[in-house]
Subunit: 362 residues, 2 copies
């Protein structure tokens, strides 16, 4: 088996994405033998004491890292945030009620579509007019909506809310791609949810962090599998949870805690983002694709002014061991996703390549 | 890291359950470095060429191992078979239509409950009158039902259909706990589904093997996440799939193929079941809990005639390195789950312990 130190790939994948090397190492060991039990983490009962302890620890780390109020609940479900898009209106929109959404990108649009299948859905703000290249501000949220939903970071378009909208109604936020990247005031949210496969862990689990007092108020009879109250009441064990994804998420959260928590993550992420965006702004052959004040710290997007130069640039970064920076087809160009686990050294390699390319071709 | 050969646990867990040691070894390697790519299998994009190949291979192995008709589709979703209980009526019961169910245990009952939330649901057969200790036979299925649903193996109660019911309507089967344990005629089923965490792989993925011609006929507008047709059309990539669970399932299916496929699994499972049930029948202090002709090959259940002897028996099997044979609370006694990956040597250890205990205390 090769070891972590052999790896020479700078992994800018948008998700599933880079995880800390020590997490991968520990996860691999546990796939063979979990903590000396003689059993693999993936072949033990989810009702076994060792796994129950993993689940409890993972739930408690989510709350600890984000400083959530004591009474908030945490569950880990399968299905991805995409299933969350469906569960949000089912669990928060009253029968005959309505919901307010901000539409800031592909995933926000999908959330809107899912809500429309359930009931009245008002898009109170949208940046679709400029290909989602900015974050709408100063919009009004109707005080008779059951909740307001937004997407804190737009993975594809590279924009991010720097300040969260003030809302007269309960707030639901899809934080899939920037959860744990910065401190948030959890008490401001009825629900924070997100797919694990960015800052939290591997694909296969979705975290829901919620105020239980906001649940069970819609008058809607739900399948127990889609009922957040049921999952919260059953402490995320209503059915077999996605064991391995929860375990690796726990390891990743322990790593974050050891590193200094989300405040330290925010500092590191700011430094990485500054390093890259400064290069984008400094080198005339590149330019950012979003409003400067809304630039995502997680997923910087940029293009070349002369697209004909892309193949030569691509050859250069590939040679440097960089992986995953081709932009999404709806934006083009480049997207360098820089999640918590990406070291600043990888960003420096990318910036060096950009500089070198600019010098040769500028 | 300890190696497979150090392990001395005989893992009879009901699920998540034992997986082949060579699968665990390979999975652990891939968590560090997938096939020399320099990236972990859990930190690469699900849209990357390496993972797309894993998905295609996993889909094709399901069909190959079970001899499915060419036009059948395979998808792997999160959420467990429990989400499947909800999706089945949504995808197969026409608006205003009805469904027929056989109720043979805990999971079958949950499937019935979920169907009732969607529409008219007729329980055409049940073994609840005798605590689900047998499989109902010779029951009629109404020819105007949209589908007939049954549970091929009842993990908790230890019963299993030896012959599948004849049905005048499309058949949907939850095969979570005995899929890949024996040959089946896939063309007889509109849908076979099951949680991965028994014979197929780790918790976190659910396989759906289905006739696409039976989909999209209900007149019901569905969330794309609950729409099997959508997932089939998108080749199981509508959203981020549970990457690691799909990968380990692929490895486990490759192992089954190397071992000789499901015909060989059936032979091995029959030998293991005979070894254990013979001991249960031979030793007067033990007795089986189910009708003899309906005994599950996967989850043999048995009790002691004198429950006061259980603590002494428990001490003995624990000492022998046996794990996970305490019965479910609804049956009591013992359940020795013997999935594909459990070697007959482990069953022999259990039988030896039973013999030894009987000799000392008989």
């Amino acid at each position: 088996m090769s070891t972590a130190t052999n790896l020479k790939i700078h992994n800018f994948s948008a998700g599933p994405c880079i995880l800390p090397q020590e997490v991968l190492q520990k996860a691999a060991e546990s796939v063979i033998d979990y903590e000396g039990t003689g059993l693999s983490i993936i072949e033990m009962s989810h009702r076994s004491k060792p796994f129950e302890a993993v689940m409890v620890r993972a739930q408690s780390l989510v709350k600890e890292l984000l400083g959530a109020p004591d009474h908030y609940g945490v569950v880990f479900l399968g299905g991805g945030a995409s299933l969350g898009f469906h569960m949000v209106p089912l669990n928060y929109m009253r029968t005959g009620g309505k919901a307010a959404y901000a539409n800031t990108g592909e995933w926000a649009s999908r959330a809107v579509k899912e809500s429309k299948l359930v009931g009245e859905t008002i898009v109170v703000a949208s940046s679709e007019d400029k290909n989602f290249s900015y974050i709408p501000k100063g919009f009004a949220i109707p005080s008779d909506a059951d909740y307001f939903h937004f997407t804190s970071n737009n993975t594809i378009f590279g924009t991010q809310y720097k300040q969260f909208p003030k809302s007269p109604v309960p707030v639901v936020c899809d934080m899939s791609s920037d959860i744990f990247s910065r401190p948030v005031n959890v008490a401001d949210f009825a629900l924070i949810y997100g797919g694990a496969q960015k800052n939290m862990g591997p694909a296969g689990a979705t975290v829901y962090l919620m105020d239980p007092e906001r649940l069970g108020r819609t008058g809607r009879k739900l399948s127990p599998m889609l009922d957040l109250k049921n999952h919260a009441d059953k402490e995320s064990m209503y059915n077999t949870p996605p064991v391995f994804a929860v375990y690796v998420s726990m390891l990743t959260m322990e790593w974050m805690k050891r590193m200094g928590g989300v405040a330290e993550m925010e500092k590191r992420n700011a430094a990485k983002a500054k390093l890259l965006y400064d290069a984008v702004d400094r080198l005339p052959m590149f330019r950012g694709t979003t409003a400067v004040e809304d630039r995502s710290v997680m997923n910087p997007t940029f293009v070349m002014n002369d697209a004909a130069m892309e193949p030569a640039f691509d050859a250069l970064w590939k040679e440097a061991g960089i992986s995953g920076i081709r932009g999404h087809r709806s934006v083009g160009g480049y997207r360098a996703s820089m999640y918590n686990a990406l070291p600043i050294e990888s960003v420096q390699v990318l910036v060096d390549v950009m500089e070198e390319f600019a010098k040769k071709n500028g």
